[in-house]
């Protein structure tokens, strides 16, 4: 009897395996399909490094809509538990991991990873996350060596994933207003010839740790740390980081490059370990850069002092022949100054770019509502107070743009927007690489006790 044709199509072992593989792939990709189908913009995020900076970023990111933390990773259970509990309070069920490799393998539907670990493992963590198909936001300084930083840029290029480095001033609306509107559009500073920057910070005690939560020596060694003290105070030790010029200076030196639209051609620096007895990195540094710009050389000084809060806090100061811009993340250090020789600025007030002298932040107490403004007095005669070599006094104006969010939030928003909407990043790996080269050369210059030069190719990957 001839075989009657089967009512069902033939289903071979090969067919079974192929179909199974397709179904498996669909299951893995299902969350992405569902998000795409429903138009959901929620991004799944993992955090590597739950220490102080990790917590700062967590708190800033928690204020951003449609972000879901699904994993946290830290080699220290004490930090990990803190982050896990913090996220739990906000309804995020983040799985804790000690090893980033486990995290990347166990939570495959992460869209992005935030790296807030010590500098010496930035490249390792960032490259692994990029290779796992995640977009990465990595804290500055992007790496403790130029080669490590270069590897991050290369990996981002090879994987096609986004890499944002945490130079958050670039996303601060006041900084953007200052650069894009005041300097570039209105040319309020005229020709910029000089700049200075500083971060003066009082003596800080080394970080301690609860003895019962101390990591074992084996565990510390496994992850590259010599001991618990160095693990907690890694910023001061050469094998983990670049010292204060990297921790504090990187933010502001990056702003030199960003504001001037150039990289330096040389650096001269002095510094030393003059105060702290148990640190390796220079606790104070003075730096002079030369920036070749289309309008001429801009000479910039930078100082980072870690034993005094005197001298005006932290700010960057750009000085041109018609005006000067003093800018900081702290609005009280921010001011715009007009040289007496500059064209009138009233038109820029009318256009909303700047505020009149005496208005806004840092202005003297306003006249009470029932008081008549007092007439201005002449003050002491000029001949009695002004040396003939003094030039006319600057007038102080205000920048009417303030940031009403956590200082890292706009930079994280920019990163997440770039993932969702393909908008440009404010600090790509390439841009941050140039800043890393600029910053790391300072430590070389201090050690060499001589002026070092840069080639344009040094800043390019």
């Amino acid at each position: 009897m001839p075989d009657s044709p089967s009512p069902y199509p033939a289903f071979t072992r090969r067919d079974f395996l192929a179909t199974g593989a397709k179904l498996g792939a669909m299951l893995v990709a299902a969350p992405a399909f569902v998000r795409a189908a429903t138009g959901s913009q929620t991004l799944n995020v993992g955090l590597i490094g739950c220490g102080e900076q990790g917590r700062v970023l967590l708190n800033a990111a928690l204020k951003i809509p449609d972000i879901r933390f699904k994993a946290v990773c830290d080699i220290w259970g004490y930090n990990r538990t803190y982050a896990e509990r913090l996220l739990g309070k906000f309804g995020h069920e983040a799985k804790p991991f000690e090893d980033y490799r486990e995290m990347l393998a166990a939570v495959p539907d992460l869209d992005a990873v935030i790296v807030a670990t010590p500098d010496f493992v930035h490249a390792e963590h960032t490259n692994a996350a990029l290779k796992a198909g995640k977009h990465v936001y990595c804290e500055k300084l992007m790496a403790h060596t130029v080669e490590a930083a270069r590897s991050m840029v290369v990996t981002a290029r090879e994987t096609g994933k986004l890499l944002q480095i945490g130079h958050q001033r670039r996303s601060n609306p006041r900084y953007q207003h200052a650069r894009d509107r005041l300097v570039k559009e209105a040319h309020l500073l005229g020709r910029i010839n000089n700049a200075s920057g500083q971060w003066n910070r009082a003596v800080t005690e080394d970080l301690g740790y609860p003895a019962k939560y101390a990591l074992t020596e084996d565990k510390l060694n496994q992850y590259g740390y010599a001991n618990m003290h160095e693990f907690r105070n890694w910023r001061w030790f050469k094998r983990y980081a670049g010292g204060p010029i990297s921790d504090l200076g990187a933010h502001q030196i990056d702003i030199f490059n960003w504001m001037l639209g150039a990289n330096p051609s040389s650096v001269l620096a002095g510094g030393g370990v003059d105060y702290y007895k148990n640190h390796e990195w220079y606790d104070n540094a003075y730096v002079i850069y030369e920036y070749p710009t289309p309008t001429g050389i801009v000479r910039c000084t930078y100082q980072v002092l870690t034993t005094t809060s005197a001298g005006g806090g932290y700010h960057e100061y750009f000085m041109g022949d018609e005006g000067a811009l003093k800018i900081s993340e702290n609005p009280k250090y921010t001011k715009l100054y007009r040289e007496a020789r500059a064209p009138e600025w009233d038109q820029w007030v009318d256009k909303g770019l700047i505020g009149r002298p005496g208005s806004g932040e840092g202005a003297p107490a306003p006249v009470k509502p029932w008081e008549k403004p007092k007439p201005k007095l002449g003050g002491p005669s000029k001949s009695a107070t002004v040396d003939v070599r003094e030039t006319a006094e600057l007038s102080a104006w205000d920048i009417p743009v303030t940031l009403d969010k956590a200082i890292h939030q706009p930079h994280l928003e920019n990163f997440f927007d770039a993932i969702r909407k393909d908008t440009p990043l404010n600090c790509t790996g390439d841009q941050a690489f140039a800043s890393a080269v600029t910053v790391l050369k300072v430590n070389e210059a201090i050690a060499a006790r001589t002026m070092l030069t840069f080639k344009p190719t040094d800043f390019v990957v």
Partner: protein
Amino acid sequence: MSESPAPTAPRVNEYTAAFLLLRLFLGLRTLLAGVEKFESGGKYTFENYYANMTRMASGITGASFMPLWMTKNFAHSLGYLLIIFGAALLLGVKTRCTLVLTGLLYVGLSFGLMAVQESEGVAWLAIHVGLIAGALVLVRHNRFSVWADKS
């Protein structure tokens, strides 16, 4: 019989001089306090006066329980009254009566500042009221008046 000289009353012209100084100070202070209310940006005009006084009235009302009609009426008459009283004190026009009215004006002004808890201004005005009270004690030694009080 004591050989020490009998106490003598201060000579009349010392009291006269003391009062005259007070009268001059209070007259100038009151007059100029009125004149400055017309000033704005270095210019003295009636327009400035009403702008300044309206600001004062609405400022006090905005920061206190007092209605605008009350503060506005007081403020709009304040400058003129200060000028009239100041000039009257300088010229010596019914000085006793003028001192009392000037004192009442300063008390009224103090009341407004008390209502907005402007302690510093109240303290300044208290000094003025104290000087006027002292002047009233000495007013019987008033001389050089164009229109003297009835004795």
